[in-house]
Symmetry: C2
Subunit: 143 residues, 2 copies
């Protein structure tokens, strides 16, 4: 399971003619395994818990690199912390929606293909960020 994720990560990286370093494979693997967007802090903790601790700066740089390669994207929550998740093929078009749970703070990517641009006045729209706030399935269930 974990190895298949690593393989998958390696394949994704090498498909971009890029160097699949240990850190990159590890981080992308964690993002692939995650069901919600992960913060830098969470990824650090997860890497440490897995016995393969990462340097703080390395993690930042790998994340930036993944975003740059289009393999991941980042969302800034209202706690002004960036969270990262893999781009499930929806990279390139206008954008996609997120759901941020106000209770547990988790941030999910939604399959929604993003709302129609809702054209402004004389502005040039390039990307649409749609974030829903509320309670996630878990928190609603536990209430």
């Amino acid at each position: 399971m974990v190895s298949s994720l690593s393989d998958n990560a390696t394949r994704l990286i090498e498909a971009r003619a890029a160097v699949a370093t240990a850190a990159r494979v590890q981080v992308l693997g964690m993002l692939l395994a995650a069901q919600s967007a992960q913060s830098h802090h969470a990824l650090m903790a997860q890497a440490t818990a897995a016995g393969r601790p990462l340097d703080k700066v390395t993690l930042y740089r790998v994340l930036d690199w993944l975003v740059e390669q289009g393999l991941a994207h980042s969302v800034t929550g209202q706690d002004r912390v960036r969270r990262f998740s893999v781009s499930h093929g929806h990279a390139g078009h206008g954008g996609h929606a997120h759901f941020e749970c106000d209770e547990c703070g988790r941030l999910f990517c939604l399959p929604e293909p993003a709302a129609p641009p809702a054209t402004p006045s004389g502005f040039e729209t390039r990307r649409v960020d749609l974030t829903l706030h509320g309670r996630c399935a878990d928190c609603t269930h536990t209430s």
Copy 2:
């Protein structure tokens, strides 16, 4: 002009049976006069330039208070800086849209009544944040 904004600010505050302190009137006045959402830093600079410098912490607290009172709302841009603007009567419903210029960094409130909730799976949506990214009218014009 400025005094009418101050009066307006005072009226808005007192309509909430709240104390219209100098700092609150001043900050709300600046927000009323602004055409785009203002960052804490910008408000500090503006207050200093106006000869009525505000303490950093006081400004934070006034802003928090204004948001709490429903007189203003805050948006966190992708530079993870919060920007504040007055609630133009659209407080209370689902939310409203913003436009963030990727070039000059300014953040505008749009009159759009926010997109339809775009229902997720088992989640309970309470608020919708829709932010468009691109170039604002000024930057498009200056290109």
